[in-house]
């Protein structure tokens, strides 16, 4: 058993399925060239490839020039061909086919032939299968299509052309004759020359051809006519050129109208995710990373990669992650293009180390982190990592990953230079930025060293009861960003322990010990 999925006027449908559809009464036509790109003198010569029913009723026919079409229908709306859209529609069509059979052929644009010989038999038979195919075609491609089922590929194609929307032709010569005989020869797709020849003979319908003896047709008109005769009788056997689609988890599009709002962008992202997730499912894979790229009119593209802690192909989960990240996104220019790519991986169970505990729901946690970053900013949420320097308050924030890489010791001794502050004395609560103060210094009569006696902030004057220091720090003399500072630990009359710092001849309150 073979099945053919057919999208009529697929080139035009490729445009209409993603755009806001015009009213059903609007005449539409697809041109073979862009009017804007053609020379002024050639603009009227672009030819009509496909039309819809209102355009046909207005008298527009395929093959006419744009000028002729406009002369017959002044309100006709033209589209130009878009290779990415046509490719996307064809990919969706093939993907739809792949869900029913591993053996399918990319027959023609808008046509896909499936070999269902290995397919399970449905309780309702071929009719139920046809229903399922037609529904799947509608859901996956989002365009109307027809389905034909028959015992050989050529007959299935004819059934798809004649189906409204489904036609099943069993191996019954009587049924095949009744289905095909009354239709014009054009449905067999003869070459123009052969068709003209047959018309000269007075042959108009399929039955006119199939009533003639095959051998005589072959002798007089050649192999093509013989092949045409076989098709008319429902005997067109041929081998399918099976395809194995590449595992590409990438969707991209350019917007005909630049997007300035978030909702239409999210709508397109959700569509892309559905397609990508379906492909991942077909290959038993999940996404471990998503990369989204937004193209703008007059500014560099925006690109961001999302790591998925627990790889998944659930559309809603992946969409929520992208939605959360884009909620606060703004740009100065409208968006003219979108690309979404998933890095696939196999589902695998993670084995934790003996005493290591896992997050209960890593994907939910990733979403929470995204919300926190949206609330506070990207550089205010993460895991702190100390830098290998004596400079105070030197750290960086790393993204929170469930599985932490082995922390590499920055020095041969295995200790970071500043780790002694973590084992001695009270921890510090820092003022960020450090608060400028005025410090009153007096020389210690015993040591002769100037010591801080009190300091004044914007709001208070604090006498210092006891002090410890000074401790001098500096960077390496060859360091380009050379710094040096002097620290004092002081206790005020209010029993508060502060760190006073003198840097570049200015005093600061760096923090409170406690």
């Amino acid at each position: 058993m073979y099945a053919v999925l057919r999208i009529s006027q697929c080139l035009l449908q490729a445009h209409l399925r993603d755009e806001s559809p015009p009213a059903s009464s609007t005449p539409l036509a697809l041109l073979d060239a862009a009017l804007s790109e053609a020379q002024p003198k050639d603009r009227g010569k672009a030819r009509v490839l496909e039309i819809n029913a209102p355009a046909r009723q207005a008298g527009v026919l395929p093959g006419m020039t744009a000028t002729q079409a406009q002369a017959r229908c002044a309100t006709i709306h033209f589209f130009q061909r878009s290779a990415p859209k046509e490719r996307s529609l064809q990919e969706d069509l093939l993907h739809c086919a792949s869900r029913f059979s591993p053996d399918y052929e990319d027959t023609d644009p808008g046509i896909c032939t499936l070999d269902l010989s290995s397919h399970r038999s449905l309780p309702g038979g071929e009719e139920a299968l046809g229903q399922e195919l037609q529904q799947s075609l509608q859901n996956d491609c989002r365009v109307p299509g027809t389905v034909g089922l028959a015992g050989n590929p050529e007959l299935a194609l004819l059934a798809a052309k004649l189906g409204s929307p489904i036609l099943v032709l069993h191996n019954d010569p009587q049924q095949i004759r009744e289905a095909l005989d009354k239709h014009p020869l054009e449905i067999l797709e003869p070459s123009p020359g052969l068709l003209e020849h047959l018309r000269l003979w007075g042959l108009r319908q399929v039955r006119d051809l199939t009533r003639l003896p095959r051998e005589e047709i072959h002798r007089r008109l050649g192999a093509e006519a013989s092949w045409l005769w076989e098709r008319g009788c429902g005997q067109g056997e041929r081998l399918l050129k099976l395809i194995r689609p590449p595992a590409v988890y990438h969707q991209a599009c350019e917007f005909e109208h630049a997007i300035e709002q978030l909702e239409p962008l999210l709508f397109r992202i959700h569509r892309f995710l559905e397609t990508i997730a379906a492909r991942l499912e077909a290959h038993y894979l999940v996404a471990r990373e998503l990369r989204i790229t937004l193209h703008f009119d007059n500014q560099p593209s925006f690109e961001r990669t999302f790591h998925i802690p627990e790889p998944s192909r659930q559309v809603e989960l992946l969409f929520r992650m992208l939605h959360t990240a884009l909620e606060d996104f703004t740009s100065e220019a409208p968006i003219i293009g979108l690309a979404l790519e998933a890095q696939p991986t196999r589902e695998k169970k993670h084995q934790w180390q003996l005493f290591e505990s896992s997050l209960k729901d890593p994907n939910r946690f990733a979403e929470t982190l995204a919300r926190l970053e949206g609330l506070l900013g990207t550089h205010r949420v993460g895991v702190p990592e100390l830098l290998a320097t004596h400079r105070p308050d030197a750290f960086k924030l790393n993204p929170f990953e469930e599985k932490h890489p082995n922390h590499k010791d920055p020095t041969p001794t295995g200790e970071t230079p500043s780790s002694e502050r973590a084992t001695l004395g009270l921890p510090l609560k820092r003022f960020r930025p450090p608060r400028p103060v005025e410090v009153q210094m007096e020389a210690n009569p015993r040591t002769g060293i100037s010591e801080p006696m009190s300091f004044r902030t914007a709001s208070a004057h604090e006498p210092i009861r006891s002090r410890s220091g000074p401790w001098n720090y500096s960077s390496d003399w060859w360091d380009r960003a050379y710094w040096r500072r002097q620290e004092w630990d002081v206790e005020t009359a209010r029993n508060v322990l502060y760190r006073l710092v003198l840097e570049q001849d200015h005093w600061f309150l760096e923090g409170i010990y406690g």
Binding site: F355, E356, S357, L359, K360, D361, P362, R364, F365, T368, L369, R371, L372, L375, L376, R380, V381, G382, V383, P384, E385, L386, P392, D393, A394, F395, L397, F400, H404, H407, T416, S418, S419, R421, A422, T423, L424, G425, L426, P427, L428, K429, R430, F431, R432, S466, R467, S468, D489, V490, E491, N495, V496, L497, G511, I512, Y513, G514
Partner: protein, 226 residues
């Protein structure tokens, strides 16, 4: 009709009509949360609770308690989040080990800190969430409505996470446990070892809320009047 019996009958009616709301939660895990520190484990903090440690003096040991808690948590290979109300956390004071399993959320005001706490408690993935409000001004903390704390209570109970808030004054209504660090450290404490300082940390219990999660209180007994 005697008021007391009416209330009793009303309770029985509610219990019959809504049995699921009156069921005791099956204790699938030990309700007590172990911090790994002697100064907190002595108070038997339960999971899913909001606890407050009041540090009336800036040098009373709030950062020391935080340091001990983070390092103990890291030794147990547990993950934790620190919501830093005024971005005052110093990773250098804690050390590499203590920071390894820590999610540091750097806020600048009380409103941001509360929203971040809400998100993390709602998430429920991290067993310990620390909210450090020590450096925030008192007047900003007093402006936080009680409903915010009640909501955090509810989220903590739902998720089972423990929230420990370090505050400069009492602000949390109906905290499960309210401790205080009344003592202030002298200057020579800066020369003492961290380990010794942590052993000298002695939080005082101010108040403990009677739990209704794992120990139900039978309040159906009518109270005698007069």
């Amino acid at each position: 009709m005697r008021p007391a019996s009416t209330i009793t009958e009303l309770r029985e009616t509610l219990k019959t009509r809504f049995p699921e709301a009156h069921q005791e939660k099956a204790a699938t895990e030990d309700p007590q949360w172990l911090s790994g520190t002697a100064f907190l484990d002595a108070f038997a903090i339960t999971r899913g609770s909001v606890n407050e440690v009041v540090c009336p003096s800036p040098s009373s040991g709030g950062a020391l308690l935080l340091s001990g808690l983070l390092n103990a948590n890291a030794r147990q290979h547990q993950k934790a989040a620190l919501i830093d109300g005024r971005d005052g956390f110093d990773p250098e004071s804690i050390g590499t080990a203590g920071c390894r399993h820590l999610l540091w959320v750097r806020c600048h005001e009380a409103k941001e800190a509360l929203r971040a706490t809400d998100l993390l408690l709602r998430d429920g993935n991290l067993p310990l969430v620390i909210l450090d409000l020590q450096l925030l001004p008192h007047r900003a903390l007093k402006k936080i409505p009680n409903q915010s704390w009640f909501r955090l209570h509810h989220l903590a109970e739902q998720s089972g996470s423990v929230l420990i808030a370090l505050t400069p004054c009492h602000v949390i209504t109906n905290a499960y446990l309210q401790l205080s660090l009344p003592r202030h450290f002298p200057l020579d404490a800066l020369d003492d070892s961290r380990e010794h300082l942590e052993t000298s940390l002695r939080p005082e219990l101010i108040r403990r809320r009677f739990t209704t999660t794992h120990q139900t209180t039978d309040r159906s007994t009518p109270q005698k009047v007069g």
